[in-house]
Structures are given as C-alpha cells and as structure tokens.
Symmetry: none
C-alpha cells in the first residue's frame, strides 16, 4: 500500500474549517443520525459529473437523500445472475432496507457518457466498442434509448440532449423490471420521478407521462 | 411510463429557492463549466449513505469533484469481461478521459453495507448469500477484507469498524489492478488516498501506509 | 447566553431561497399585513406533531390562520385563577382582539400525546402520573374523554383512534366554558368546528353534531 | 354539541385540491411517517400570529419541525407544580421523547402580545392587569424582559422591537431552567437558537451570544 498518499493539504484545511463550523453547528443532529440510523425520504440516482450538485439544488442536508452516482445516471435491467451489480445493489438497499418513499433519476446537460454513447452508436467511437471498454459496455444500457432518439432527431446537438433525457426514461423503465421496485410502486409505498437539469442555465425539467414530454418544474 | 409522478412540491419550492440564490450568484461559473466542460481535480468514491456529505466536508463546489457513490464505497478488481461494471466505468472515465489528479476512497462509520457483509460472512445473514441478493453479491468484494479483520479483531463492534476501514483498503488495492490506474500512479499523474469518517463525531482519518494504520488528518 | 448557537447552515440556505422567491413574489402583501395588522378569518388549534401541516392542507397563506399548536390540540376549561394559561390566552386573543369568525380544532391519527393519555389512564404509564410530568398533567385534560371512550370501545387500536377524536370534542366542550367564546357563538359572530385527519391517508373528517359522529368532509 | 358547525366550504374546496395534488404526490412519504412515527430534527416555538410562516420560510415539509405556537413565542420557567403547563409539556415531549437536535425560538415584528405587555408594564392597559386576563397573565412571563428593555430604550417603537427580541431571550433563558433541556444542551444532544423575523421585510436575524446582539443570518 505504499502507493497511498497523504490527503492534499487544501482538503485538510477545508475539512478543519467544516469541522469547526458546519459540524459544530449540527453535531447534535449528526450524532443522532449515527445513533438512530439514517431514514432518508428519497433516493437520487445521478451522474458522477462534477457539475451536478444533487443536494444543493434541493436544499438537502445530511440524512435526506440516499445517493447513487454513476456514469450517465443509468440503471441496468433486473438481472439476478449472481454477478456484481453495484447499481442494482444500491436500488435494492434503498427500496427493501431503507424503504425510501421517492426514487428520483436526475439527468443533466453536456453529459460525457451520453455523448460517448451517441458517438459509439453512430460508429464514430470504435474504442468504446471494444470489449475492454468499461465505459462502452456501461453505455450499452442506453442503446435502446439511442434507437428511439435516432428515429426522430435530426441534428447532433438535438440528438445529444434528447438522448440525455432518454437516459432517464430508460433507467425508469429498467427500474420497473425489479420486482421489489414494481411492487413498492404498485402498493403506493414508492413513487418514481424523472428529472433533467441544464447545468448552464440552472433549469430543471421533469418528465410528464400524461403528455410524454419534459416540462419545466 | 404512467408510473412516473410529479416531483414532490417541497423539492420544487426548494429548487426555485436555489435557482434564485445559489444559481444566480454563480451562473457565470456554471455557464463556463457547461461551455468549457468539467475539469475536476479529484474523483471521490464514497457510500450512498445519506449521512455522508462528500462535498460539504471539503467545502467543494460544482466542478471540483467527480463523484461515484455506491454501497460501501467499493471498487471491484479489474475484470474486462465485456459485462457491465458501473464502478469500473466511472474510474476509467475519471482517469483516462478527465485525468483527475487525486482518487479518494471515503469510508464511514455505521455503514449498513459493511455490517451486512460482516453478518453474511459470520453466517448470520443467509438471505444475503442468495444468488439473487444484489447487496450480498456486491459485498462479496469485501470478503478478502473480512478474512483479514477476522484474524485480528475480537468483539463485534470492533470488527465492524475495522471492516469499514478495510473496505477502503480493499478498494485501493483493487484500483491498482486497473492498468490505467497503475500506470497513472506510477507516472506521478495520479495519487490515491484512503479516508474514513465518523458520522457522529465529524472526525476524519486517513490511511498512513508507512505505519499501516489510520490516523486523524 | 453562551449556550445559544448559530442557526444550522441548511436552514440559512433555505431561508435565503425563500427570501428570493416566495417573499419576493409576495412582498406587497406581507408589507401590507405588517402595516395594517393581521386580520385572520380563522383560528386553528392543532397538535405540535411534525406530520400535521395545518396550512398546506387548506392552501392557507400568511394572514389567513391564527394558529395555536400544543400537545394533542387540547383546550383546558375556563379557569381565571391568575395563573399562566397559554392556550386560554391564545383563544382569548383570537376571539376578543382579532374577532376570528371560525375556531377550528384539528385532531390527527397516531397522536403520541393521546396514546400517552390512554396508557396513563390504563395504568401502564406510571411516569406520566408523576406530579412532575408536564405531559402527564397536560393530558389530564383528556381524562373525561377517556371515560367516555372506555365505556364503548373494545380493542386498543380502536380506543386510540376514538380518544383522538374525543380530544377534539373535549376541547370544543371546554371552549364553550369561556364566556367570551360562548357569547360570540351565540351571537353568531363565531362558529366552532371539529376536525380529525388521518396522516397516512390524507383523509379529513368533521364532527357532525346532528348525528353525533365524524364524517368525511 | 349542537354549536359545532360544518367546515366553511372554501376550506372544504381547498382541502380536496390538496388531497388530489400535494397529498397524491407525497402519499408514500406520509404513509411512511404514519407507520414509522415522526422523527423531527428540530422543534420550533413561534407566535400564533397568522403572519408568521414557520415552515415555508425554511422550506420545511411534513416531518421536519415539531411546532409549538403560543402568544409571543414565550416559554415560562420550569415549574413542576402539578398544574397544566402546555408549553412545558410540548418542550418536555420534544426533548425527552422525540430527542430533537435543535430548539429554535422564533420571534417576529409587530407582535400584538409583546405590544400588550409593553402597554401593561407602562400602566396603559389596566384590563390586561386584571386577574381574569389570560393574555395579561401569560405576558407576565415577559416582565423581566421589560425591565431590561426599559433600562436602555427611549422611544416606543424602539421599545416594542427591543421587547420582541427580548422575548426570545427570556424564553431561551427559561428553557435552560428545565433540567432535561439543560442536560441535553450540556451533553451536546441539543442546541438552542434565537431568531427574530421582520414580517414586512422578510428579513431574519439571529442572536449572537458572543456579541450580545442580533445580526442578519
């Protein structure tokens, strides 16, 4: 483990500032959260992208959101094959152990993962088609979304944005293939929500199933 | 998609508040981040747990951290078998596409996933041993850590804490099995860091490879 | 006063969001309310319970409801003994100074105070019978209700729900012992209303004196 | 009970609107709150005044705040005399049964109760000095605050505002006379906060014990 290095000093400095201020002001709550356990109201599945702030956009503090972040906020279909499925494990824990009431999939603009999928499906990214490309294989989850977008979009910018929004719908569809998600939704114990945010404009849209489109919240 | 529901109104209200304040105050930066793309200095791998605030503890704002969150902040070993590996995809993207300078694995106290692993390895959680348990199969990644902890710990509370810290080391070890991580570390382009935070006390420890122990930062 | 701490930052953040949105959109009305004084149409007496939202359930905005919240939405009998009676003071101010037109007592399901009263009256909560128990002495107000419920209910779940509804009636009865309430009611200047809401189902029932039962509104 | 009247139709109408919208969008959470019980992070003690919106100002939804509202947001001193003390009962329940982490006293501008206390202490409101005046006897709690304000204020508008802010401090001081509050504060399980809001301006100030003054949050 000789390759492990000390934390950069700028993070050490900021951590001590947090400890002396935000932690000190909230220590009673943080201690209670530790003793009583977490009881998050919602799970949020969002992208790893550094520009997506999942908590601040909703004024959420510690204890509110159970958060899974992966490339392009994707959920694969239910596949209980005994292999390792990190996203499925997170969903399983949130729904069956924590009993979250809301499951929110949050997509975003300028998503590098979605752009990679678009390039790959258009034959412009052979490296992503390699068996050894983890990003490529992960983005395979979004291929059904690409087919739907290709059928209706013309220019490339429009296609990228459409595919970002489609990624949220693919994930929502896949979530419903998990028996414990489906039964929780059907019993009224869980509600699913599809969002997309524009990083530049700070706007937020949600999918409206009645009209089949996204609309500003 | 008729199962998709509107966003709860308390989140809508809070979003509009964020838009009018934090977004308005930072729109110049957010627009630039959208146009120029993200350029995060570090990737953080942490747990989905709602009590772990990855950004606030380090005073980090949008654009700073590329964040992957999964159950128990685990990284599986390198396995380019053509299957979907969400964590490996996130690491690959951060290291080979974004060229992050730091890769931080952040563990925490009272981790439900680690406790589940402990119970499973001690034969107390047969449900987690089922092939269909996503959480159980995901926690298999930590089995090597359990063997090491079992060899030296006595009581159960001590074992849980030791295994939480071991989970970080298992992930760091596995990270080095990825050729692109190893070569970036060896060339000096990337440094790895192992942290563990106590939710109740707000304390933060880092692994010190010279002494083989965790110490307060 | 060194024990006073700064407001937790998540509330500071959310407050600034409110200031920039809801306040900004309504400042003309809020300024007028400040200059002209409040003129609420109704007083609502409800429980402190965090799950009872008195305003949202009725779409009420600032200026509409004069709200008193205490444990189990109780009103004690008229007792002008020179001691401090916070609930009586609130009722007196609402009726004689503000001349509200409606006085609504709102009970609710899963009420911890009512459950405590039930346990105490059944001899299962000796701590609540102590002279020093503020909750116990406060719940003494509901003892007449317990006697009526006990005379007709069989199982414990039924008794709790019946006593929650009885608490509203005890309060309404006690309100009529206040001379200024009684005369306002008799002159037609004030009407009294008894409600009970189920937190889980979001249902709302009101007491119908003609039939002597609660019925869905 | 023939004096009980049906709920005014405008409230019936609004309730049905809430049920079909906000309730429907949040029913999973509300059901969970009912089954699992409330776990509010904070207790707020505020005035009954219809112009003070305790939840909206902080973007708080059902389950977040345990709320006690009385005339002038007052807490009497600890007095375990076996009489009914509704405010003390609410504080006792919040601290010893719910273990809230924060206890916030929220004062406000144009407070009618505080103005009444000022008039009474200045000899201008003989009716409030009657033994039978519930409001007068309740405002006696604030008399120590009046003495301190009188020693330093000159004009009447200044005196009213100063007494509103003093009411928060009197309540905070009295809270510390409750053994269970004091021990929770001293053990770090509970933190106390003093706020004052201007209804017209939507501003919010908090008491800073280090400087002994209120400052904008």
């Amino acid at each position: 483990m000789q390759f492990v290095r000390p934390l950069p000093s700028y993070l050490v400095t900021r951590y001590h500032g947090w400890k002396a201020t935000a932690y000190a002001d909230n220590s009673a709550w943080y201690r209670r959260l530790a003793v009583e356990g977490q009881r998050p109201r919602a799970m949020v599945i969002s992208c790893c992208d550094s520009r997506v702030h999942v908590t601040s956009i909703f004024g959420a503090d510690q204890g509110e959101f159970f958060i899974h972040r992966n490339i392009a906020n994707l959920v694969p279909p239910y596949e209980p094959d005994g292999n390792q499925h990190g996203t499925s494990a997170a969903v399983e824990y949130a729904v069956t152990a924590l009993h979250v009431s809301h499951l929110i999939v949050l997509g975003h603009s300028s998503c590098g993962g979605v752009q990679g999928c678009l390039d790959m499906c258009n034959g412009k990214a052979p490296a992503l088609e390699e068996k050894t490309s983890f990003v490529g294989r992960w983005m395979d989850i979004l291929r059904p979304g690409f087919d739907r977008v290709q059928a209706r979009e013309v220019d490339e910018a429009g296609a990228a944005r459409a595919l970002e929004k489609e990624a949220v719908l693919v994930s929502l569809d896949n979530l419903m293939t998990f028996p414990f998600v489906k039964s929780a939704v059907e019993s009224g114990a869980l509600s699913l929500h599809g969002l997309w945010t524009d990083i530049a404009e700070g706007s937020l849209e949600q999918f409206d199933p009645a009209r089949g489109v996204y609309a500003a919240v």
